[in-house]
Symmetry: C2
Subunit: 290 residues, 2 copies
């Protein structure tokens, strides 16, 4: 896999971009690694001590042959045309955003010497920012890949596949529409639910009684620590898939609400949920370090 | 605390009743410990090897001076009048149910020589049944106590307080109404939400794609493994407090649904949720073994 990525550029150095950089450096000590970010994030990236060169302009990655866009989704989409202009020689670009259709649409305007494959690592952590980055963040985790019109050939998809495997992830190709719909349920709905639940519970019980919270509430609301800025972008670029997911949850909660005394809906929903939970436990049994 | 409970009876030997028995045995090796349950649960209780005597009738605890009711809430309430008849000498009874008003109402019919103090240990585990019982389940956890008309004097409240402290818990007295309202938000709403979410996500994505689930979904749905039978009882005996909690969550989810594109509600709800989450993290920081 020596030739997959000799000169790697990372644009947006938070938890994901920082972990990509650490994982590359671990796998390819000799790769040239440059990064782009701004303000305090650039200072934190510098403190990581893993980049050969850092800058606040896209020209910093102008001579990279493999670029990872790891800013929030709408920033990635807005950066793509400018990145296309900045890149002087043939380059392969991928991203790490949680929604795929918007960035794939933006990739249509890329010049012919720039190829694009969408990407989405299914990895996260309780903390945001480069300070929480880890070389093993992607270890054993799925990394979804969405080839598109701007993918200049099957060899480019293969290069991205080898690249993410090099970071420890398990690549899997998926259509962008199917991706956005599945992730609305698997990731976006749990996030919105955890945040809504934490907000409602906190406001209702207040500071004194929140200390009664046990491990159940703590688990259920762990995602509520996620940064709002990233989620504004995700929700704005996937609202048509998130709305039906929210509707399905609201409908189930409403059915439970109407049947608390008899318990028939409780039996049905808890029975179904228990079976699905068993499957989730078996499939995430190796992720307990999260 | 030698005289708090010489002859202890446990009625209902699942996760909680079994853990109470193990914690008593650890703290008071010389106490007489008897238990009541039926069928396979009685066999599992026997396998624990911690009880001096076991039986399937309430008469088994007739000579106990301290009885812990640890069956589902409505069973506890139904058992109380019969327990009152079965007890031959003065005894103090407490329970471990997640709702308090219904059992306190049932306690009004107890004869004068039987005293009652409601109790609710805020402890849980991912697994149900005596097989999952642990002597340290209550270590450092709050144990809410609700004295009532059937509490025959302040000395009885003090005895229960000393008893739960002996099990490692932190006793805290609370009014039954306030208890049921706060716990509807702190425990019942998270449980219903986790089960509803797991049901909706599983049904939407199916067996193949559920394997993409990451630690976020796994955390948010951990409670979905809870046994339906216990929750039918809890919901049936606290529906008037759970309905407003569900309404508040449905309202917040509906507001998020209507604002996915602009993100103002996301910013508001995630901001509030992040602040409450910080408080929950600090207050449950020692519970990471759960």
């Amino acid at each position: 896999m020596g030739g997959v990525a000799r000169r790697v550029g990372v644009v947006g150095i938070g938890l994901i971009g920082g972990s990509v950089a650490l994982a590359i450096r671990r796998a390819r000590p000799d790769a040239e690694l440059v990064g782009v970010d701004r303000g305090p994030a650039l200072e934190r990236a510098s403190a990581m001590g893993v980049f050969d060169r850092l800058g606040s302009e896209l020209s910093t990655v102008a001579s990279s042959d493999f670029i990872v866009l790891a800013a929030p989704v709408r920033q990635n989409a807005a950066l793509l045309p400018r990145l296309g202009e900045a890149l002087r020689s043939p380059a392969l670009v991928t991203d790490t955003g949680s929604t795929k259709r918007v960035v794939l649409e933006a990739a249509r305007s890329l010049p012919p010497h720039v190829s694009f494959v969408g990407g989405h690592p299914l990895a996260g952590a309780a903390r945001a920012g480069a300070g929480a980055a880890r070389a093993d963040l992607f270890e054993g985790r799925p990394w979804l890949l969405t080839p598109c019109d701007a993918t200049r050939g099957p060899a480019d998809l293969e290069r991205v596949r080898v690249f993410v495997a090099m970071l420890g992830a398990q690549p899997r190709v998926i259509d962008a529409e199917a991706h956005d719909r599945a992730i609305a349920f698997l990731s976006h709905l749990p996030q919105l639910t955890a945040s809504a639940l934490m907000h409602v519970v906190g406001c209702a019980v207040g500071e004194r009684d929140i200390s009664l919270a046990g491990p159940g509430l703590a688990d259920t609301t762990r995602l509520a620590a996620s940064p709002p800025a990233i989620w504004r972008d995700i929700c704005a670029t996937n609202s048509d898939a998130i709305v039906p997911a929210l509707d399905a949850l609201i409908e189930t909660l409403t059915r439970l609400r109407g049947d608390l005394s008899t318990g028939d809906v409780i039996a049905e929903v808890f029975g179904s949920a228990g079976r699905w939970r068993g499957i989730v436990e078996r499939s995430t049994a190796t992720d307990e370090d999260e």
